[in-house]
C-alpha cells in the first residue's frame, strides 16, 4: 500500500481526499460519517457573519443533466452558505476536530467585504482548533447579489485586499477559493498570491441553467414558476477545472502557489489527474452527493495501487504533468500518427466510419462484411474515431517513426519543429 499521507501547506491528513465546502460538510453528523468512511479532511460548509443566518429556498435547489443510464454528469444548485446559527457550527467544528485529530478541518468563510467583518469572524473561529480557513470568493448565486462570493472573486483587487486582512488577523493557513466565472483565472490567482494566500482552491461552481421545462417554460430548478442561474459542478466541469489548475501551476506569475484541486473529482483517476496537473490535494462534493461517502474507499485503493504500480511516491505525482502542458505554438508539427483499428476488439458498430466519413477526412474504409480499416493516406490522426468508439482501446493512435514516409503527404517524418518556425506562419515569413 502506497503512503497516501498528505501535507498540504502544513495541514496534515491521512490521505489527499477532502470533502469540499458544501452539504456533505454541513454538520457534525455528516462530517463524522465522512471521517468514518475514510475521508482525509473536510472544508466545513461556508460560515457567514454572526446574526440571523441566511435562508434557503423552500423548493428544489438542485438541477441536473444525465448521461446514458441516467448517470449524473452535471449538477447545479442555488443553495446559499450555511443556514445554521454560527454558534452551533463553531461548537460542532470544535467537537469533531477534537475527536478526529488526524483529519484536516478547514473552515470556509464568507462575510461582507469590510475589514471589521473579517476580523470578527476570524476571532470567533480561533477557538475551534481548526487547521485553516478557506475564503469563499466563489459562490456565484445569491451571495454575489449581496456583494460577497463571486462578486469579490471577480475583482482581483478585492481578493488581494481581503486576503491581506485575513493574514493580518489570523495565524491560520489561508486558502483562497476561486470562482471560474471569470475570463482569465490567472488574475484572481495572482491577486490571492500577492495578498499572501498560502494556497488557492478551485473551482467553485459555474453559472448555469441545466434545463427548461417545456410545459411551464421555467428554468430548472423551478421555484414557483421561476428559476435562476445556479452553480454547476460534477463530472461535466472537470475539464474546465483542470485547465484552470494547470494554468496556475505553469504560469510564471503563480507557479509554486499550492493548489487544492476541485471540480468533478469522482474517482481515484480524476484525483490523480488533478494532482499530476499540480494540485497538492483534491476536494470532492458532487461525487459524494451522488454516491455517498463510501466512494473514498475506491479513491484510496485506486490511487494507492496506481502509485505502487508506477513505483512512485505521491509527491512524485504532484505536478508531474505540468511541464507537458504547453502553448499550442510549441506543439511538434512533425509528430505524425495514424489511427489503427484492432480487428479483434472491433464490434463492427460503424460509428468511427460515420464520424470520419461525414465530418472528418473520409479516412476509414468499410467493406461489405463490415470490416473497418483506416486509410493511412487520408488519416490526419484527428482522434475523432477514437473518441466515438464504444470499445476502450479498440482504436489507437500509432505514431510514425522518424524517417518513415507519411502516405498522406508523401513527406518523411522529420525532427521536432513547431509553428514558431513554420513557413506558413506570417510572423516567420515577415522576418
Amino acid at each position: 500500500m502506497a503512503n497516501l499521507a498528505s501535507d498540504f501547506i502544513g495541514i496534515k491528513s491521512p490521505n489527499p481526499f477532502w470533502l469540499a465546502s458544501a452539504p456533505p460538510t454541513d454538520k457534525k453528523y455528516n462530517v463524522e460519517r465522512a471521517f468514518e468512511a475514510g475521508w482525509g479532511g473536510v472544508v466545513w460548509k461556508t460560515l457567514g457573519s454572526e446574526g440571523p443566518p441566511v435562508v434557503n429556498v423552500n423548493g428544489p435547489r438542485y438541477g441536473a443533466i444525465w448521461g446514458a443510464d441516467r448517470r449524473l454528469l452535471g449538477l447545479n444548485n442555488i443553495e446559499l452558505i450555511t443556514d445554521r446559527p454560527l454558534e452551533v457550527n463553531l461548537a460542532e467544528i470544535k467537537e469533531v476536530k477534537r475527536k478526529w485529530r488526524d483529519r484536516a478541518m478547514i473552515i470556509s468563510l464568507m462575510v461582507p467585504c469590510d475589514e471589521d467583518s473579517w476580523r470578527d469572524i476570524l476571532g470567533r473561529i480561533e477557538d475551534t482548533e481548526a487547521d485553516g480557513v478557506e475564503l469563499n470568493f466563489g459562490c456565484p448565486h445569491g451571495m454575489a447579489e449581496r456583494g460577497m462570493g463571486s462578486a469579490v472573486g471577480q475583482v482581483p483587487e478585492y481578493i488581494e485586499m481581503v486576503t491581506r486582512w485575513v493574514k493580518k488577523h489570523s495565524r491560520m493557513p489561508c486558502i483562497v477559493k476561486l470562482t471560474p466565472n471569470i475570463t482569465n483565472i490567472l488574475a484572481p490567482a495572482g491577486a490571492a498570491k500577492r495578498g499572501g494566500a498560502d494556497a488557492v482552491s478551485l473551482i467553485n461552481t459555474i453559472n448555469s441553467i441545466t434545463s427548461v421545462d417545456l410545459d411551464s417554460f421555467s428554468p430548472e430548478p423551478m421555484i414557483d414558476g421561476k428559476g435562476t442561474h445556479g452553480g454547476y459542478c460534477g463530472p461535466a466541469v472537470k475539464p474546465i477545472a483542470m485547465n484552470m489548475v494547470a494554468e496556475i501551476a505553469r504560469s510564471a506569475e503563480t507557479r509554486g502557489l499550492p493548489i487544492s484541486g476541485i471540480g468533478g473529482v469522482t474517482t481515484w483517476r480524476d484525483a490523480a489527474e488533478f494532482m499530476a496537473l499540480g494540485a497538492g490535494n483534491v476536494q470532492v462534493c458532487t461525487a459524494a452527493m451522488t454516491y455517498g461517502f463510501k466512494i473514498v474507499q475506491e479513491m484510496i485503493s485506486g490511487l494507492s495501487q496506481y502509485l505502487d504500480d508506477k513505483q512512485i511516491a505521491m509527491s512524485d505525482l504532484i505536478g508531474r504533468a505540468v511541464p507537458n502542458v504547453t502553448d499550442w505554438q510549441y506543439l511538434n508539427l512533425n509528430y505524425v500518427a495514424k489511427a489503427h483499428i484492432d480487428q479483434d476488439l472491433c464490434i463492427k458498430c460503424g460509428r468511427c466510419y460515420a464520424a470520419c466519413e461525414d465530418t472528418s477526412h473520409q479516412a476509414i474504409a468499410m467493406s461489405a462484411d463490415r470490416t473497418f480499416t483506416v486509410k493511412d493516406d487520408e488519416c490526419v490522426a484527428c482522434n475523432l474515431c477514437v473518441n466515438v468508439c464504444p470499445v476502450d482501446n479498440c482504436i489507437t493512435m500509432v505514431p510514425m517513426a522518424k524517417g518513415a514516409v507519411d502516405p498522406r503527404t508523401g513527406r518523411k517524418v522529420g525532427d521536432y519543429a513547431n509553428w514558431t518556425t513554420h513557413p506558413n506562419n506570417p510572423s516567420v515569413a515577415a522576418e
Binding site: K294, E298, S301, G302, V391
Partner: protein, 466 residues
C-alpha cells in the same frame, strides 16, 4: 467471449452424427449414445473438451467494463445483504469500473477468501443477483458473479495475494476437513498469526470444490490452483489421507491443539429404500461426480445409455447434466415433489432441461427392475398434501441401465460425543467449533461454508486471545 449465445446444440455437441469406429477419422470413439449398457467413449473425442469447457465464459476487459458500468452503487446495497459472506459488491464493482480489478479482488477476498470459486459456483440468481435492484427494475441484474470472477482472475493471474500474517501467537489450531469451510477457517486463523494444521481424509484438498462441483463450473484445475493460492498466506500445513475417527480422535486433537475446527461436510448419503437398490448400475450420484471430477480422460468414463437420476437438488442436476454431456441418450431426473420444492434453483432446473434432461415431478421409485443389473425403474406418482406425501395408485416404468441416487447427503463419521441437532453438528463446544455443510445452519452452499469457516476462525481467535 462472442459466441457464448450460440444455440444449445452448437455449444454442447450432443447431436453429433453417429459414426462407427471403422474408417472413422476419430478412431477413439468406439461407442455411440445408442450403445446399450454403461460404456465409455459415446462421443467423438473432441466433443468432451467442448462439452466440459467453461459453461459461462470469463468476461473480457470490455465486457467487464460494460457490466461494471451498470452498477448503481446502491446505499446499504441489498446484494451485500444477500451474499452470505457480505462482500462489499458495489465497492468492488466501482474498483473494476475505475480500472483497478486488483483492488476489487482485495475487497472480495477480505470477506470471502474463496471468492474465485464462489464467483463460478454460487447460484447468484438466488443470492446477490436476485437482490440486485436492476433485477427488480429490468429483470437483468448486474452480473455480479461474473464480475467477481473477472476481478479475482485478474489478480490471481498477476500472482497477487494481498494478505499477510500477523505476529505469531504461538497457538496451534487443528482444522478437520479441507473443504471450503475448513480452508476459509484456516486462512483467517493463519492471518491472525496462529499455526494451522488441516487434516483431510481424501488425497487432495478442496472438499467438494475438487470432488463435487460440476466440472464445467470450475474448469482448468481451478479448485487446486485456488487451494495453492490460498496456502500462500503461510502457516497452514495440510495433511491429506488423515481421517478423523480412523487415524486420530477428537480427544487426541483437543489434547494437542489449542482449538479444533470441524468442517467435515456430509460424507454419507441417504438410502433409497426401494427394492433392488443393490443391483449393478445403481450408485450414489456423488461418487459418480467425484470420479468424473478426477478423471483425466472423460472419454474413458463409462456412462449409461438410459440414465435415471433420483433426487431434486444440485447433485441430481449435476449428475444428470454431466451424464448427458458424456453422451447418454436419455437422462431423466425424477423428483418426489413439485417443481417449486426442488432445492435446485429454477435457473439450474432450466439449465438441466436445456441440456436435454427430462425432469419428472411428483413420483417416487418403487423398485429397480432387472436381472442382477439395472434395466428399468418402476415409479409411482405422488401427491403432496398438508398431511405429507401420499402415493397414488398409478405407476410407470423408465428404461434405465444406470441409476443415480441423489436424495441427499448426511453427516457421517462425526465424533459421537458432539451435540447433534437435526442430523447436524452444533457448536461451539469447549475447544471445538464447527461450520459448513456438517453444521446446523449450513445451507449446502460453498459460499455459506466459507462464511461459517471465516466466522468460526474469528470466534476461535477471540477465544484464544482473551
Amino acid at each position: 467471449m462472442r459466441g457464448e449465445n450460440l444455440p444449445f446444440d452448437k455449444k454442447y455437441d450432443l447431436c453429433q452424427p453417429f459414426q462407427n469406429g471403422k474408417g472413422s477419422a476419430k478412431p477413439k470413439m468406439t461407442h455411440s449414445p445408442l450403445t446399450p449398457g454403461i460404456v465409455p467413449g459415446r462421443l467423438p473425442a473432441e466433443a468432451y473438451a467442448r462439452n466440459f469447457g467453461d459453461h459461462e465464459p470469463a468476461l473480457d476487459r470490455h465486457e467487464a467494463r460494460v457490466a461494471a458500468d451498470r452498477c448503481y452503487f446502491c446505499h446499504d446495497a441489498p446484494c451485500i445483504t444477500a451474499c452470505p459472506t457480505s462482500i462489499d459488491i458495489p465497492l468492488f464493482i466501482r474498483q473494476i469500473a475505475t480500472g483497478t480489478p486488483e483492488a476489487a479482488a482485495t475487497t472480495i477476498w477480505s470477506q470471502n477468501i474463496l471468492g474465485g470459486i464462489c464467483a463460478r459456483v454460487c447460484p447468484t440468481e438466488t443470492l446477490c443477483e436476485e437482490a440486485c435492484v436492476r433485477e427488480a427494475a429490468e429483470g437483468k441484474p448486474v452480473e455480479i458473479g461474473r464480475l467477481q470472477r473477472f476481478a479475482t482472475d485478474v489478480a490471481m493471474g498477476k500472482g497477487l495475494h494481498p494478505f499477510s500474517r500477523d505476529a505469531a501467537t504461538g497457538k496451534r489450531v487443528a482444522v478437520v476437513g479441507a473443504g471450503p469451510a475448513g480452508l476459509a477457517c484456516a486462512h483467517r486463523l493463519a492471518m491472525h498469526g496462529h499455526d494451522v494444521v488441516v487434516l483431510e481424509r481424501r488425497p487432495k484438498a478442496g472438499g467438494l470444490n475438487e470432488y463435487g462441483i460440476a466440472s464445467y463450473k470450475a474448469t482448468g484445475g481451478f479448485a487446486q490452483a485456488e487451494v495453492d493460492w490460498l496456502l500462500r498466506i503461510g502457516g497452514i500445513e495440510i495433511r491429506t489421507g488423515v481421517e478423523l475417527g480412523r487415524d486420530v480422535t477428537l480427544d487426541e486433537l483437543q489434547a494437542s491443539y489449542d482449538a479444533v475446527f470441524l468442517g467435515i461436510g456430509l460424507a454419507g448419503v441417504n438410502a433409497l429404500r426401494a427394492e433392488g437398490e443393490d443391483k449393478a448400475g445403481v450408485r450414489d450420484a456423488v461418487d459418480f461426480i467425484a470420479e468424473l471430477r478426477q478423471a483425466t480422460d472423460l472419454s474413458q468414463l463409462p456412462v449409461g445409455r438410459d440414465v435415471v437420476v433420483i433426487g431434486g437438488g444440485m447433485t441430481a442436476v449435476d449428475a444428470a447434466v454431466q451424464s448427458k454431456l458424456l453422451g447418454a441418450e436419455t437422462v431423466t431426473i425424477v423428483y418426489r415433489r413439485g417443481r417449486e420444492k426442488m432445492s435446485a434453483s429454477a435457473h439450474e432446473q432450466d439449465h438441466a432441461v436445456q441440456s436435454g434432461v427430462r425432469i419428472i415431478h411428483n413420483a417416487v421409485p418403487l423398485r429397480v427392475l432387472g436381472n442382477g443389473k439395472a434395466e428399468a425403474v418402476e415409479f409411482t406418482y405422488t401427491q403432496d398434501g398438508p398431511g405429507g406425501l401420499t402415493l397414488l395408485p398409478e405407476t410407470f416404468t423408465l428404461k434405465a441401465d444406470q441409476v443415480f441416487k441423489a436424495i441427499g447427503q448426511v453427516l457421517k463419521g462425526a465424533p459421537d460425543n458432539l451435540v447433534i441437532a437435526g442430523g447436524k453438528l452444533a457448536g461451539p463446544l469447549g475447544k471445538v467449533w464447527v461450520g459448513g455443510d456438517c453444521a446446523v445452519g449450513g445451507e449446502d452452499l460453498t459460499v455459506t461454508a466459507v462464511a461459517e469457516g471465516r466466522d468460526a476462525a474469528e470466534a476461535i481467535h477471540a477465544s484464544l486471545m482473551s
